[in-house]
């Protein structure tokens, strides 16, 4: 039960300690802070990889803090869904590498160490969120990552950034309250905060309070995931934050809501306290609506990052729809899309960041023709675009395939239809983007003179773009990795 305990703790403690020490390290020279943050994340990545290797090998395992037995002690539990830690670490490392030049350019120098500290804290919060087996811990980690997230949106100090951060804060606070309220109710019903324990005790509980608790929790997580119509905070926050932060926020932070939903499902399906039919139906519809509405808003944007932000809403729609379908293929597709979308969206946001860094422009109109000046960056963005639309053999395709298959499997062919045609809608604005970069005559000929992005930016972008292709070609690996977890999840309701 308690083999390898230090690792499971280390994956959270290392980045938190690193975060706390970053301002000290970076006090005299800002570059030091970048090195320090990078070192911290690399160390964390090694730990995360060891953990993922272990879960692939022998299934879920857990560690009980301080030797207090479950359900009294705090349990850290690592299952297949927790493998999202690997992707958190990967994006963390790449975002920090990318930030080296970007932060110097976008932020006042005194803030740079704090920027890295917040970034590490945010990553640590997500890492903790995905490995905890305890409901209250879940809430604490959610707050850590949310609070650091608000600050990161505002970090540039511009007025508009503060506005966006405030909007994000208000919505985020509402969602936190909803989740906290739900956790309180579950505690009142069962007298326990350990997830597995709650699930086993919830069986005979009265239906109405359980329904309220689940409903509140789902609501809270859906705000975090920015599903339509709870998405209003997302576009501004993600578009205005510095690009590496946008990559983290759009690629990872919204996924916290999804991982939270998976945890909720683990409790709900195991306990069988409630038939989730109604919730699932709502999620399917909201998912479909998100896909279409996200695409609809994105089509009218001229700002590249705004477009990408709306595209996140569509993609969260895919995932939520997959979860709501509650069929094996649907949930597998949704879970894998949590990983794949993170990679794809990070490619796009970092790519957009590089364009903004070099040209200082951020609208399609102004960026016309930039593909000739920055061929590698724009090629990477194109790969990301193809991938997010779900053209085979890229990463996005398999998820789309699985979720659509899940829809047919669950007897809802309409949702397969909505998904496939929603993707078509998404295609429209990515075509606009690629068209503008490659085929439109530049508005200002000076754009043809800009240089390719510096290596510290280009390398992360190219690594991610390569992963977009690799995750598609080797799609079998994540799919078969996540399958046992989904089978276990759906077993109590006869699926899987």
């Amino acid at each position: 039960m308690t083999t390898w305990p230090p690792l499971l703790v280390a994956v959270v403690v290392v980045p938190i300690l690193g975060a706390v020490l970053t301002p000290v390290v970076g006090q005299w020279r800002a570059r030091r802070a970048a090195d320090w943050a990078l070192g911290t994340m690399l160390l964390t990545s090694v730990v995360a990889l060891l953990l993922v290797a272990r879960v692939a090998d022998g299934g879920p395992f857990s560690y009980v803090a301080g030797g207090w037995e479950v359900p009294y002690g705090i349990e850290l539990r690592f299952d297949e869904f927790s493998a999202v830690t690997a992707i958190i670490c990967l994006l963390g490392v790449l975002a920090i590498v990318f930030s080296r030049r970007y932060a110097e350019h976008a932020l006042p120098e005194v803030r740079i160490p704090y920027y890295y500290a917040l970034l590490l804290l945010n990553l640590a919060g997500m890492l903790g969120f995905s490995i905890t087996g305890d409901l209250f811990n879940l809430f604490v980690f959610m707050e850590i990552l949310s609070l650091s997230g608000y600050a990161l949106v505002a970090v540039s100090g511009e007025k508009i950034a503060e506005m966006a951060a405030f909007k994000y804060l208000v919505m985020g606070a509402v969602s936190s309250i909803a989740v906290l309220f739900a956790i309180g109710m579950l505690y009142a019903l069962t007298g326990s905060l350990n997830m597995a324990d709650v699930a086993s005790r919830l069986g005979g509980a009265p239906v109405a309070p359980v329904a309220v608790a689940f409903g509140m929790m789902a609501l809270g997580f859906m705000v975090k995931a920015a599903i339509f119509p709870l998405h209003i905070w997302l576009p501004d926050a993600h578009a205005i934050a510095p690009s590496p932060v946008s990559a983290i926020l759009s690629g990872l932070v919204v996924k916290v809501g999804i991982v939270g939903m998976l945890r909720l499902y683990q409790i709900a399906y195991t306990s069988r306290a409630l038939d989730l039919e109604a919730l699932n139906t709502v999620l399917m519809w909201l998912g479909a609506l998100s896909i279409v509405m996200g695409a609809f808003f994105a089509v009218f944007q001229d700002d590249v990052k705004m477009m990408l932000a709306y595209s996140t809403i569509s993609n969260i729609g895919y995932i939520v729809m997959g979860l709501g379908l509650a069929s094996s293929a649907g949930v597998i597709g949704a879970s894998v899309h949590v990983f794949n979308h993170a990679i794809i969206k990070a490619t796009l946001f970092l790519g957009a960041g590089a364009l903004i860094f070099r040209t200082g422009k951020r609208t399609l109109t102004d960026l016309a023709g930039v593909g000739h000046a920055m061929p590698w960056t724009v090629a990477a963005i194109s790969v990301g675009a193809i991938s997010i639309v779900g053209i085979p053999p890229t990463a996005g395709f398999l998820c789309k395939w699985y979720i659509a298959l899940g829809a047919v499997e669950a007897g809802h062919p309409f949702f397969a239809f909505a998904l496939v045609f929603g993707a078509l809608f998404i295609f429209i604005y990515y075509i606009r983007m690629v068209n503008a970069f490659y085929f439109r005559p530049p508005r200002d000929p000076a754009i043809l003179e800009v240089r390719e992005a510096p290596a510290s930016m280009l390398v992360p972008i190219l690594v991610l773009a390569t992963l977009c292709l690799v995750m598609g070609v080797l799609g079998r690996i994540p799919l078969s990795f996540i399958e046992p977890a989904v089978t276990r999840l759906l077993a109590p309701i006869g699926g899987g």
């Binding site: 395939w401 298959l405 085929f439």
Partner: protein, 491 residues
Amino acid sequence: MEVIDARAALAPAISLLCAALVFASGERTFWRRLFSLSAALAKLVIVMSMLPGALRGVVYVFDLVQFTEGVGLAFRADALGMFFSLVSSTLWLFTTVYAIGYMEREPNRMRFFGFFALCVSTTVGVAFAENLLTMFLFYETLTICTYPLVIHDETPEAMKAGRKYLAYTLTGGAFVLLGSIATFQLAGTMTLSHPGILTMDAGRGTLIALFICLIAGFGVKAAIMPLHGWLPSAMVAPTPVSALLHAVAVVKVGAFGVLRVVYNVFGVRLLDELGVCDWLAALAAFTIIAASIVAVFQDNLKRRLAFSTISQLSYIVLGASLLTPLAATAAIVHIANQAFAKITMFFVAGSIQRVTGKTTVHELAGIGYRMPYTMGAFTIAALSFIGVPLFAGFVTKWYLSLGALESGAWWYALVMLGSALLNAAYWLPVVYAAFFKTPPSTHVEMQEAHWTMLGPTLVCAAYVILLGATVSVPGMPFALARAAVTFVFGM
């Protein structure tokens, strides 16, 4: 007999490699030409080397990756696929030579030749796709890769045509994807290696819906009316691209998809029971006649060619939907017959445009004196379309009419006759104008296009006669079509 052989995957891979090399060689003309030509040649050799085996009944298979049970990318060079890939790789070689001449002074040649190679790679991928997923993959990729070719000129008109093209074909792709998913769910497999994988157990309504979904998906590229709107507007592309789009890659992939759906997904027996093919045949017959009538009124040569393409493609669809062995033979061989004749015409249209700058039919008076070889090739293609015996087009018309009689739908034989008349009505005036009308000036000097353009034109015209005259010679592509028909009808 199935043999595991990497050549089935190598054929699409070699063009992919070629595209990568072309992109890597940048604006260095020599290397670009070398890579383009040697890849085209290598690919033809690879496909040819599989021909003797394919004629003996050997099927080359190769599994690339498997995502999960029954979902993966795999290649399978069966008779039908071999036939199609043989046509497309032969034409790729000719089109590459022609394009080198045609694109001599155009900008962005690296992009052009790179995506050109990618298109052919994906076309052969479709031909050798073992399952619907692989087929969808290449079908979609083809759409993406042709887009930069369609908008090559980057004029507002080209951009508009590109948008229209994408809107049509991507919607079609979405239908193919939906259909593939539904097929997988109903049949538990997506393989194209059987003469039909679905059964009546799935329910009549579901099967009809699925059939409509898949045919609509592939029908967009096959330009079945009313899904043909993208094709005439896509004519703004440079001529080698139009040739590629209309004769080799895009439209044929659609027609080939229809054949696969009819013969390998549903199967002849099931479709006979469902009765949906009567509707498809009627639609195809309508397209044949309607598109020909529109073509008569086109003055722009390339637009006339476009509507002729729409009409000719529906021969394939009609042949497939009659569900008899003879009609199926016609459908399959028409892939080659239409391809060679149509590409000849496009080459001619491009040569005329490059040499004289003329693009409309009424300007062509006396052009035959100026470009006799080019217009001679055109005449051969025109006679083939009209269906004169000894020319390739006759073979199609003959077998299609026999097939129509075999299935008891004799009126489709009349459609063939009507189409022949209409073809005569819009191709013969061009020939007449070229050779029998007096040229605008009395002093005419012979001025042919560069040999890189004239050569492929003449070779393709020769093929038209070869295909028409050697039907019963063993070892010719016709034997492959026979083998494919034997397989799908279980004879």
